[in-house]
Amino acid sequence: MRSADRPLSPHLQIYRWQLTSVMSILHRATGIALSAGTILLVWWLVAAASGPEAFEGAQDFLGSWIGLLLLFGWTVSLFYHLCNGVRHLVWDTGHALDLESTYLGGWVVAGATAALTLVAWIAGIARWVS
């Protein structure tokens, strides 16, 4: 059997995911997404420094549905990476490393991410329509 044909372990089709491993993978995924998102931030800053035409172009893109979708994904990623990053910093002090605490911390991070994203977008939309 060629090495590429060998069965994978863990067997991904029947593998039962755990909150802890999913959150670990998401931490890395959101980190990569946020890195890509910084291009948007720098573009917006450079546009603001370049003058009305460039700024209008950047604002139009950010206000389009694809721009808003990217901004929403960026917000979720940022709050997730931030909250889970704090969870990592707590672990670095040697605390909350037992199984029960890692699961509890995981759910707290998931809840905090949802709450912060919701608050940010409600505040943003309220600001937009006013």
């Binding site: 890395r28 980190g31 720098v42 800053l45 931030l82 910093l89 670095d92 943003g124 600001r127 937009w128």
Partner: protein, 126 residues
Amino acid sequence: MRSPIGRAIGLGSAKEGVQHWWAQRLTAIALVPLCLWFVASIIAIVGADLETVQNWIGQPLPAILLVLLLVATFYHLSLGLVVVVEDYVHTELAKLGLVIAVRLLSFGFAVAGIFAVLSIALGSAS
């Protein structure tokens, strides 16, 4: 198996890593308040025109915090992305190329962002 002197100096076989680990944590701690401030500030200027945005960036405190945000963000992400590359890319040439790209691009974007903030704050933007 580590010798007593190796244990005392704290070096593993890689002879480095503490600096990377520490810089990642330091920038992470800095980014917690900076990111929260940034999101709150952006919400406050949603839909604003160029003049309002320039006036906001031009004030001393937002300008300073934006520069700090850019420095911490790009330092933090270059450390993180290098680890990702080292974990998944196993061809030496591709790994080297990607690590160089991550380092140079993150440095370049950081300089571009900082320059934009400073040119607005110091009044040379149009």
